[in-house]
Subunit: 223 residues, 2 copies
């Protein structure tokens, strides 16, 4: 059986790949080049895909949000803020409708491949406040998926969206990844696009906290 | 008030633009260059946008389905069949998850613009059998939209997906377009990419039937 896996090259999606492969599924990663500031993460995605010896790694090029703007992750005029993961509002690093767009492509790809699963590494515990990482959002997407494609609407096939990391903290994700021997050394989480991770943005802070709490040494290089 | 309008350059989306503008909304068309075989329709979309004197016409470039394949509209190895609009199955011109992907971008764009509406010219009467043109699909998307973005999930704004052509036949759409003085002469509906419309594919047949039943002369050129 086949599974499409949304792979950013970050910690979460890489552990998600490891979970899907461990289940014996044939994994088909899909990644996006959306002119994100941290496009170096796409290089990580390629290395992770190669590590898993996948048959094919689909990379979708899209100029989404380069024109509309509105996010620090795609607009070079907005600074990525230093991390303050305790604040309650949605950060400027939020990209409008990103996970919805990514899942939509993944669903279409799953239909083409005849895959039964779409894996996405969202988690609602240490989730930075993005609305499209919440379980309610995923559930609504699943409801929609059953109506959206030829496979699901006319041929009564199921394409299930799975979120194995949904209830895990970053600490749990690090422990799970370690356990599954996921290639954590190839992953990138930093919002800034430098060769080494900055260690100070939201994403770096969450990651470092997770590794620290797990008692595992983060194998990547920091500034 | 602002409205994002999905504009393919075809008859339906152009009439949809006219409906939105007639309501006094500031229209923001969004079109897609997805390496469709009939990319000449993008030229029509540009002409239609210019006709409506829009502030901005957003064109999203994406290689969707060029790699995954699976549709006669994006894969040059599959022939576009001559029209037989009576057959009950979903035709090979179906593009996996296309309307879902388009609506997802439109929703993100609406959020960035602060628009309250997304218009899409789907109709379930003469709809060629695509699952993602049905009212059930649109309703499920609306349910999801309320959970998908910062605007709708956290700020309690509504972004409404409107489908003014949902219950109209092609005849009704032609009559409505004529009535609103929509630029029908600039539209393209043909699935084949020639300079002149083929007159024989599904889309041309539906269009010609609609004009004939409406008693309106189709202003575009046919082979």
């Amino acid at each position: 059986m086949k599974a499409v896996v949304l792979l950013s090259g970050g910690l979460d999606s890489t552990v998600c790949m490891a979970v899907a492969q461990k289940k014996g599924l044939e994994v088909y990663p899909i990644s996006f080049n959306y002119h994100q500031r941290h496009s170096i993460e796409l290089e990580s995605a390629k290395k992770v895909a190669a590590y898993f010896k996948v048959k094919k790694h689909l990379i979708i090029d899209t100029n989404m949000n380069r024109n509309p703007g509105g996010s620090a992750l795609t607009d070079s005029h907005i600074d990525v803020p230093a991390g303050d993961v305790e604040r309650p509002d949605i950060p400027v690093t939020y990209v409008p409708a990103r996970n919805l767009i990514f899942l939509s492509y993944a669903l279409g790809y799953a239909e083409v491949l005849g895959a039964e699963y779409v894996y996405i590494g969202v988690n609602a515990v240490d989730y930075s406040g993005y609305p499209d990482c919440r379980p309610e959002f995923i559930q609504k997407f699943q409801d929609l998926a059953n109506y959206a494609t030829k496979a699901t609407a006319a041929e009564h096939k199921q394409i299930k969206v799975l979120t194995p990391l949904q209830d895990l903290s970053k600490k749990d994700i690090v422990l799970l990844g370690n356990d599954l021997q996921a290639p954590l050394h190839l992953t990138r989480s930093c919002y800034n696009g430098g060769e080494k991770a900055c260690g100070t943005c939201d994403s770096c802070k969450l990651r470092l906290k997770g590794f620290a709490e797990a008692g595992v040494k983060d194998p990547i290089a920091y500034l």
